[in-house]
């Protein structure tokens, strides 16, 4: 266990700049939004805003999913990492956990900024309840786990063959993108008793004069995203130990 924490500590120190960079980017995004939002309709401003945040969280996840191992390969530190008495799964899990911390911070920061901004009466955006904001960010957080682990395992698979690694990597990526939504639906149907949350309550929307689709989030999906991500990460760890050549 202590080995895992050593690796995690190293990851977090190494990611300091990324965390800082992504936070600054988020601030800039808000600044831009503030400048532009006055011209938009209330409802569409909110939707555009949530879209920007979710998309940036997902893009960050994909970039880190490929990047956290790629940087080790590029700097050849993968040789150091794999010479230490730590298993492949410890390496994979520490990277995943460091990402979870990173994206958790990012989402929390986004939520605070977002809610704070949207509560300002003087701004003509919207006035949704904290709960709506919270659910949007929580959903983005859990979704990001999958957006991270899919490219992560695709990268590892690509490294486990001497030939045609890139092709294999892309194939795995496409296969997972195809199969995971299907598994997701299946899994959610298996657990109908788990609670669903309305992100935007229709009555609240009507009251504010907003026209947003009253989307919902559900616990089953959160569980599914967590489980499938952990499974992919552990599988990556196994491949890293048994198949990947460096």
């Amino acid at each position: 266990m202590s080995r895992f924490f050593l690796l995690l500590g190293k990851e977090l120190r190494e990611e300091r700049n990324w965390i800082l960079f992504s936070s600054i980017a988020l601030f800039l995004l808000f600044a831009l939004f503030l400048l532009r939002s006055g011209k938009w309709h209330k409802g569409s401003a909110t939707v555009i805003y949530f879209l920007i945040v979710s998309v940036s969280i997902f893009i960050l996840s994909i970039v880190r999913g490929f990047g956290l191992l790629k940087k080790e390969w590029d700097s050849r530190t993968i040789i150091y990492l794999r010479s230490l008495p730590a298993g492949g799964y410890e390496v994979a899990l520490s990277k995943f956990t460091s990402f979870v911390v990173q994206i958790g911070l990012f989402a929390a920061l986004g939520l605070i900024l977002n809610y704070g901004l949207f509560s300002l009466e003087s701004l003509d955006v919207s006035g949704l309840g904290f709960r709506s904001f919270f659910l949007v960010y929580v959903s983005a957080f859990f979704g990001s786990l999958v957006f991270f682990s899919v490219p992560f395992i695709a990268y590892v698979v690509g490294k486990s063959t001497a030939r045609l690694g890139k092709l294999l990597s892309i194939s795995v990526l496409l296969a997972l993108v195809y199969i995971i939504p299907k598994l997701h639906k299946f899994f959610v149907r298996l657990l109908p008793f788990l609670p669903k949350f309305q992100i935007f309550k229709p009555e609240e929307l009507a009251q504010r004069g907003l026209t947003i689709h009253p989307s919902s989030a559900d616990l089953a999906s959160y569980i599914f995203f967590t489980v499938i991500s952990l499974a992919l990460i552990l599988l990556s760890g196994f491949l890293l130990e048994k198949k990947v050549e460096i």
Partner: protein, 232 residues
């Protein structure tokens, strides 16, 4: 006592080329094995397989009775030829990070080594010269007090002073008779007196192996000259 190293019929194929074609080595614990041969003869591939970084295509490998993997890495330190340390860390950070992984880590030995090597703990690794990084790599490996030490070309491509320091540090801190080492090199002259076993590798095969004094006696030449002879 289990042999430190047992390799039987080891083959390794890379796309389009056999890097190792039938390696057999048995090495007792406590030996200093020189693994000599020109670049591209398969030395690095062999060491990578021992670390589990590369997988054998065919054949058996046992290190103290164990297959390459995490348990082997617990008792093995590997010093590759390339720079594999984290450039963003300082010497001290690198040592603290490494120390946590080894039960056998010896902090006072590391301090002595740093002083001997003229390495300042607050130096950033990315700013060190090649020779200094080579010194640090060996210091980290020795301070972990491993049962097996794998040195891949520790003397090549570095300044003469660093080369001397590395040889001296090895002689001073390596526990002959207790620790086992595989010392891969194509620069034989400086190191040949240290070996008590030599394996000549050429084109993925063992050309010659034996105790250096027996080979000197048999050929009437130095190991370096025997090497030049067999690789002609």
């Amino acid at each position: 006592m289990k042999a430190a190293l047992e390799i039987k019929g080891l083959h390794k194929r890379f796309p389009g080329v056999w890097a190792l074609r039938g390696i057999d080595i048995t090495l007792d614990a406590g030996r200093v094995m020189g693994l000599v041969g020109p670049n591209g003869s398969g030395k690095t591939t062999l060491l990578s397989i021992l670390m589990g970084h590369k997988k054998p295509t065919k054949g058996e490998v046992r290190i103290f009775g164990m297959k390459p993997g995490k348990r082997v890495r617990e008792i093995t330190s590997y010093v590759p030829e390339i720079d594999h340390l984290y450039g963003w860390m300082t010497v001290k950070e690198m040592a603290d990070f490494t120390a946590g992984f080894y039960r056998s880590w010896n902090p006072s030995k590391f301090r002595e080594l740093l002083e001997f090597m003229d390495l300042n703990p607050s130096f950033k690794i990315g700013n060190l010269s090649r020779g200094m990084r080579a010194r640090l790599k060996l210091s980290l490996a020795l301070a972990a007090d491993p049962k097996l030490l794998l040195l891949d070309e520790p003397l090549s491509g570095i300044d003469p002073l660093s080369r001397d320091k590395i040889l001296e540090a090895f002689i001073k801190w390596f526990q002959f008779g207790e620790q086992t080492v595989i010392f891969s090199t194509h620069i034989v002259r400086e190191a040949e007196k240290l070996f008590d076993y030599v394996v000549f590798l050429g084109d993925g095969e063992i050309i010659l192996q034996g105790e250096p004094d027996e080979l000197r006696n048999r050929y009437g030449r130095s190991i370096e000259d025997i090497m030049k002879e067999v690789y002609r």
